[in-house]
């Protein structure tokens, strides 16, 4: 309660905390933040199993809208990046080994399919839609819209977080496939024109390098990266309390953490996967 006594500046003086106290506070705060982070993910997933056929229908509608914003509207940007990445790889490979279509095909599989398609797509989605999601949710918090949803008996995690998270997963997987097609096609076209290698040698290189387990890795990356982007963007958006100045801060935090999360996940998955299944490329 507000004091009616005259203001005494000494009352604001905070006792200097010892280093043990500071470390303890930091540890508690980090633990509670991690707990809340995973709580958002768990509660959002569980909310899909809550009763309510009408709610499910409504949420699916929002999911489709999210796929439209996150996936369909990002096609042109992903196309441009895909073509340029394919071209850069061809230029580099062609300088090392001119007119070797098979080698270029192998390099494309290793670089584009296994690493760049998932990572670049996730970065594009985090940059385009992650900021938008975090900002939208932050503004909803500031305008009491999240409280309003609760007052109407609507679960915010089900109505707000779940469709955005699934929208991100679907979009990242679809954009990864699209990115790979665009990038490989551009690389083939430029490679044939620049180095004179034959289309069949490219095809041989690609088909000889793609293993069945590559597809498993490809989709595991897509699902994981999409979840990371959607989940972290929603979580940090909902961390806004009541001040509009927190919105850009949390939006920027959402993107930074999403990018970091994506790179870490991508690296760990690649390392773990090939440690389990052995080297991806058969020796020539």
């Amino acid at each position: 309660m507000r004091s009616t006594l005259p203001y005494d500046p000494r009352s604001d003086a905070v006792r200097e905390a010892s280093w043990v106290e500071r470390i303890g506070r930091r540890a508690i705060s980090s633990l509670s933040e991690t707990w809340s982070l995973f709580g958002t993910l768990k509660d959002a997933i569980v909310s899909d199993f809550a009763p309510g056929v009408a709610a499910k229908r409504l949420v699916h509608g929002i999911m489709l809208t999210q796929v439209m914003f996150t996936g369909v509207q990002a096609l042109s940007l992903v196309s441009a990046i895909g073509v340029l990445i394919g071209a850069s790889i061809i230029i580099q490979t062609n300088m090392m080994m001119p007119a070797d279509g098979e080698l270029i095909g192998r390099v494309l599989v290793a670089v584009v399919l296994r690493e760049l398609a998932p990572l670049i797509t996730a970065i594009v989605v985090a940059g385009r839609s992650g900021t938008a999601i975090a900002t939208e949710l932050g503004n909803m918090k500031v305008n009491s819209e999240v409280l309003a949803l609760s007052s109407l008996g609507i679960d915010p995690l089900r109505y707000v977080v779940l469709p955005r998270m699934i929208g991100c997963v679907v979009s990242v997987v679809a954009l990864m496939i699209y990115f790979s097609i665009v990038s490989l096609s551009a690389a083939f076209a430029i490679g044939i024109l620049a180095s004179g290698a034959s289309l069949s040698s490219f095809q041989q290189g690609v088909s000889g390098s793609v293993m069945p387990h590559d597809l498993a890795l490809f989709f595991a990356k897509g699902l994981g990266l999409g979840t990371i982007v959607g989940w972290l963007s929603c979580h940090f958006g909902l961390q806004v309390n009541s001040s509009p100045t927190e919105v850009p801060q949390q939006a920027s935090r959402a993107v930074v953490m999403s990018l970091l999360g994506c790179v870490v996940y991508n690296t760990l998955l690649t390392a773990g996967f090939y440690w389990l299944v052995g080297p991806p490329m058969p020796a020539p």
Partner: protein
């Protein structure tokens, strides 16, 4: 069975700032509670706690015998607790039109209410018409509506739910006299409905006189009848 709103030893604080201290309160169905208090004492927070939008730091809040701080808001709705809440600025969803704001909860719970698309549209339009929202505003986004219209739409959203609890935060703040009268008429109907528990946070003397309800004042975390609160302050 704990009918209506029950606060059982309920406390709420922001850090060291107490909004509510070990409060016992019962507002039965058909009764109206008006809460007054200085700016910043926590009237809105008290409403949030009563409606279960914020969890009490200690103690319990019950709505018709159900814990207000249910894990999922939809659980309360499924247990028959229908809350209408008017926020200070309306609290409308900014990406939905006025009509979509009113139909949202009906559509989300359509299976619970046994309504089809036509029914819920009709009910929403009726609620908007009751609050005299012009048809031309039905498809406008909240950002394109004046505060008065936004508040009427928010009230229509509460009315459409056929609520058994109504929580109103400064319902006549920033309204012109004709809109204010319209809101007062609607609040009188809530007050006279024997099935609805109403909690209003306001400092508007005009509203208090119009509803003819003895207000309670929130001060220092305690909720006391206004005259008693005044006496204790003077003492």
């Amino acid at each position: 069975m704990k009918d209506g709103l029950w606060l059982e030893d309920a406390s709420f604080r922001y850090g060291d700032l107490w909004v509510l201290r070990e409060t016992e309160l019962h507002v039965p169905p058909g009764r109206t509670l008006i809460v007054t208090g200085d700016n910043g004492v926590g009237k809105s927070t008290l409403l949030y706690v009563c409606a279960g939008l914020l969890n009490a730091s200690a103690g319990h809040v019950w709505l018709d015998g159900h814990l207000a701080a249910a894990k999922k808001p939809s659980e309360l709705m499924r247990q028959g607790v229908r809350r209408g809440f008017l926020f200070g600025q309306g609290g409308l969803l900014s990406n939905l039109s006025a009509l979509a704001n009113v139909t949202l909860a009906l559509r989300y719970h359509a299976d619970l209410f046994g309504m089809d698309e036509e029914d819920l549209n009709l009910r929403a339009r009726e609620a908007l018409a009751q609050l005299r929202v012009a048809q031309t505003d039905f498809h406008a986004l909240p950002a394109h509506l004046s505060l008065g219209v936004r508040k009427r739409v928010a009230l229509a959203r509460a009315v459409a739910l056929n609520p058994n609890f109504v929580f109103l935060d400064d319902p006549d703040g920033g309204l012109d006299s004709s809109t204010r009268n319209l809101v007062y008429e609607r609040l009188e109907r809530f007050r006279d409905d024997s099935g609805i528990t109403v909690v209003i946070a306001t400092n508007s003397r005009q509203l208090i006189e119009r509803l003819a309800v003895e207000p309670m004042e929130l001060a220092h975390g305690h909720l006391l009848p206004e005259d008693q609160s005044r006496r204790s302050r003077m003492a």
